[in-house]
Amino acid sequence: MEGPRSDETLLVGVAERDIGAFRVLYERHAGWLALRLARRCNDRDLVADAVQDTFVAVWQKPRGFRGDGDIAAWLWGIAIRRLVSRLRRRTDVAAMFESTATTPAAEDQVLLSVEHGDLGAALARLSPEMRAVIQAVVLDGLSAKEAAQLLHVPVSSVKTRLYRAKAQLRATLAEGLS
């Protein structure tokens, strides 16, 4: 044997209905996917459902991966959209973006500003609503419509919040430069 199989090889195996390859793929990716989803939704069952949906989708359409970029990125794209679609059916659970994250300790704050410069601080100064929108649209690559479904707010709010958040970030960063 020549070491562990690559994700691409595993995906070929999945396409050939190899449940063993599917299992390896699951074990390699389910963990970090679940963790990343859990940072966006505090309902554990819903995250579990989204992870299950993701891998069922992979099993059904393994050829959905077009070979561009990393398989991990492709999986994440499926996972976040599955979460959105699960959340859309549930009005009682709202997505959460770091809103409960504790404020970093003072020394961490110093480290952070060293590490990330003004951007980290600028992001920290955004309101939770604006941060959520930035996270969904800019970092997770969702469309405004998907972000709206994820956050249970109208699409128009997503757009205004995104616009204001960008303006505020720009202003904060400009302040830091002067």
Binding site: R28, Q52, E98, L112
Partner: protein, 277 residues
Amino acid sequence: MTGWHVDDETLRHYVERTDSMAEGASVEQHLLTCAQCRARVNTAATAVDSTMVDLAAVWDRTRDAVEVPRPSVFERLLRAAGIPAHEARLVAAASAFRGVWLVGVAAVLAFAAVAAMIGHARGLWLFLAVAPVAPCLVVAFSYDRRWDPALEPEMVTPYPALRLILLRTIAVLAVALPAVLLLGLFVPGEAPFAWLLPAVGFVAVVLAASTWVSPLNAAMAVSTVWLLTVWRLAARSASPTAVLQPRTQVAFLVLAAASFATFLVRRRHLHQLRPWR
């Protein structure tokens, strides 16, 4: 790869969710391209995090989900149309969709259509003789136990029989009618649509008659009567367009309505469609 990796401290913050947004975003971007750090996150998550989902349980459910045969295209269409999953399964289980003998019906129709296309008056007669009875035969076969093993478990499930029968009939017709219609397009003249009302009428007659006799017998009887009628008309060398006259069409409409009314009135006698008696 850059050779850069998330340091242990940052990784711990990320897993424990004590990081800032910028830190989290940077970790997440890196994870998408670094298998090594993904593996570290997986390990750290199982070791530390109590808020983590039960991945073993999710795996079991995922495996169960993928090992169940995937619903057929038709079943998924039904579900998309708003029919509940269990009903969609029952409807889709109708033998008409196993295709074997639907192909047979299609072949006979295709033969008739080709004959009509070649221009023989006889071909047109043949099409008119076969097309109107095809849908009711399809429906009748889809209720015959000998042809449909799925009927056994299905019919012992307590279920509103009327709803199921209507759903199945509609589903069978949804498959049979377009097939016949498509072939009818190749038939010259107005004939392609002439058989539509007779076909609907005969299906209604079969449903009504099946409150007395088995659907297959009913369909056979209806087919025989129709074939004899067509044969006699042809023998009298009447034009095939006799069936197309508005008056005849109205008669078929009345037949359909009357039969359907009978079916609804006598729906307590549906035992012929519920073979457990």
